[in-house]
Amino acid sequence: MAQGVVYRYDGSFSGFLCCVAQCFFDKALPLGIEPLDEPQATLFPVREIVTEEALADRVARSVPQKISPEVWDMARRGFLTCMEEKEMRLLRFLLLGYKEGGRAARLAVNSDVDAVNKALLYLKNEAHYHVEFLRFADYGDFLGATITPNNTVLPLIAPHFCERFNTENFMIYEKTHQFGFFHRRGGQRGFFQADRIDFPAHTPEEECFQALWKRYYDTAAVEGRINPKLRRGNMPMRYWQNMTEFQRVGK
């Protein structure tokens, strides 16, 4: 019986696809898949997976063809989530796909498919929350914003803002995963990596509009119906740190 191995890869999606390919060549499931920067040591034998773009492309083309575009879309988005053991679950999900074909996406009662579905739902909801709760500040030349999501939502929300604010220059920084997105009037846009961003100080005009918004927010509540539990349920407190209406410092 073959000994179990743990794969180590570089954390990128292409790397993950190479792990999938490796699993096929070995004809055995690995015991775990860890990204390289994972500090926890393992007692099992480790196998380093090198990311080869050609191999990753082969897998990327075979999934929508042999399984279905839907499963491929789910796998790609599933990689953005913060699901526990996401690589192993996605690997098992893809293997189920190779076995059952396109209907794997619908087997909602299978525990791996169920976990992927729930993670995708969490991702979708968090992306939607961020579209709602993201707050730009006007720094004169451009609008800037910071978000701190659990899942990697920036690739999902960037298109919405590009479309809506196509007449503006803006930038969004995702603090948890240390990368950001910028957009210039005229179409230039892209992602960038950064450990930290320091925004310039607020202009007096910006302060004025922030104060107006805070006043609007405070006035809009009907006093007889104050309901903090309902508010927290609809707007979880972890989003409040980046929202203008809750900033009380320096007021």
């Binding site: 914003a145 479309e163 509009f209 609007y216 006035t219 007889g224 119906r225 309902l230 508010r231």
Partner: protein
């Protein structure tokens, strides 16, 4: 700044809060877009969603409706925005992703036509000069010229006219300057305009869109003595007759001292009743219920202990238990604990495999309530015998007895005494007899 505060304060009782209903992708060169599913940018301290800049253009009202904060005889600070101020506010808030758009209402300044002209001026500046492409909800003013109402419709995404009160009698008593005809006329006009526009859009390319997100309305609950059944029947009638997208209910917040016509200042607002009405409204729109099924002459008011769907199910046990793998979609919707999303998931999952209770739990069905009404592959996991509806009603009621007592107390403001605490020292019937005979 003060203008914003005064005019927001005056507008907050208008609860229509959605920014949904129209998908309008952005056009390059114009700021903004609209999304069908609706985006709530924030939630106020009372839990309600804030998605639009909801303000009155002016609160200097010429009318004198008894229930309103802004009525002419009330003593509150008055303010009016200029079109430039309002446009600037809207655009700057929109750029910072604070709002989805503008909700513009107004008190009747001088007369309805003059007010409409002011609103038109603001919207024209917003759409044409500032090139704003986001969501706009505008309130039509009852009694205004139809031509003005129509022109407003071409700038707005949604229009609404508030019905305010659920019956003509109440309306004539409390808001004599608005009449039923003045309110229903613009509603009919907007409905006809939307229909005509649908035809125009199909035939002419580049036709401007008239109120693409539809119409809605709002009524005040608890200010007048109508029964829940009357309100629900009116709601169903409004949906059918005017093709409304939504009817909103607003619990009456007493703002008037010493009025003989309205509930006293200290009356708590009927929040549970409003909640039940919204639940019933959802049943009408998404679950295929008719108003007569939810409430009828024998039961003109909602059950405070059970939501309307559970109430219906418990009173119609002859339809249950349903076999999950075979029941039609319409009947699945009627099971307490199965909502629209769960029913759709069940419908799509059961094509691929037989469902059992474990599977149902994964699909998101609330088994705690649904288990009394369904079977899977012939088996039921209901812990109680299903022949006595009262027992099941007790089991699926969401609240404990103490909460129920408190909610019954606020139901339509009637007094309801709290339950008596049991005591070991309370006189028993034997003691009472012995007192009479002199033994104690």
């Amino acid at each position: 700044m003060e203008k914003l505060e005064v005019l927001t304060d005056a507008a907050k009782y208008d609860v229509a809060c959605t920014s949904s209903g129209v998908d309008r992708p952005a056009v390059p060169g114009r700021l903004g877009s609209a999304v069908k599913a609706g985006i709530c940018h924030s939630f106020a301290a009372d839990g309600r969603c804030i998605s639009l800049l909801k303000v009155l253009l002016s609160n200097d009202c010429a009318f004198d409706c008894a229930y309103c904060v802004n009525r002419r005889t009330a003593d509150s600070p008055r303010a009016t925005f200029t079109p430039e101020e309002l446009c600037r506010l809207t655009i700057e808030f929109y750029r910072r992703n604070y709002i989805e758009g503008l909700f513009l209402s107004s008190a009747v300044v001088k007369n309805p036509d003059y007010t409409c002209e002011l609103m038109l001026q603001t919207l024209r500046m917003l759409r044409e000069k500032e090139k704003f492409w986001g969501y706009v909800h505008v309130k039509a003013i009852p009694g205004a010229d139809p031509l003005l109402t129509q022109r407003l419709g071409f700038y707005a995404d949604r229009m609404s006219v508030n019905i305010e009160l659920p019956s003509q009698k109440s309306l004539s008593l409390l808001a004599p300057q608005k009449s039923k005809e003045k309110i229903l006329k613009p509603m009919g006009q907007i409905r006809d305009g939307i229909q005509e526009n649908a035809h125009d859009l199909a035939v002419y390319r580049g036709a401007p869109r008239f109120v693409p997100a539809g119409q809605s309305t709002q009524m005040i609950i608890g200010a007048t003595p109508e029964s829940d059944r009357q309100i629900l029947n009116l709601t169903e009638g409004l949906y059918k007759k005017y093709s409304l997208k939504r009817v909103f209910f607003s619990a009456y917040m007493p703002v008037v001292e010493n009025s003989s016509l309205l509930p006293a200042r200290s009356t708590p607002p009927p929040l549970l009743r409003e909640h039940r009405l919204y639940q019933a409204d959802w049943l009408l729109r998404f679950y295929g219920f008719a108003a007569g099924e939810i409430l009828d002459d024998a039961h003109p008011d909602f059950n405070p202990l059970l939501d309307p769907k559970c109430n219906w199910a418990v009173n119609h046990m002859e339809h249950f238990p349903l076999e999950i793998n075979k029941a039609p979609y319409e009947m699945l919707l009627r099971v307490p604990g199965i909502g629209v999303k769960s029913a759709m998931r069940i419908r799509s999952a059961r094509r691929y495999c037989q469902l059992d209770f474990e599977g149902l739990k994964k699909l998101g069905v609330v088994l705690k309530r649904a288990r009394y009404f369904i079977t899977c592959k012939g088996k039921s996991i209901s812990p109680l015998p299903m022949d006595n509806p009262a027992v099941i009603a007790g089991a699926i009621s969401e609240r404990g007895f103490a909460q129920n007592a408190a909610s019954l107390q606020s139901w339509q403001g009637e007094a309801f005494s709290a339950p008596e605490q049991l005591s070991l020292f309370a006189p028993t019937p034997v003691d009472k007899v012995q007192r009479l005979t002199g033994q104690i």
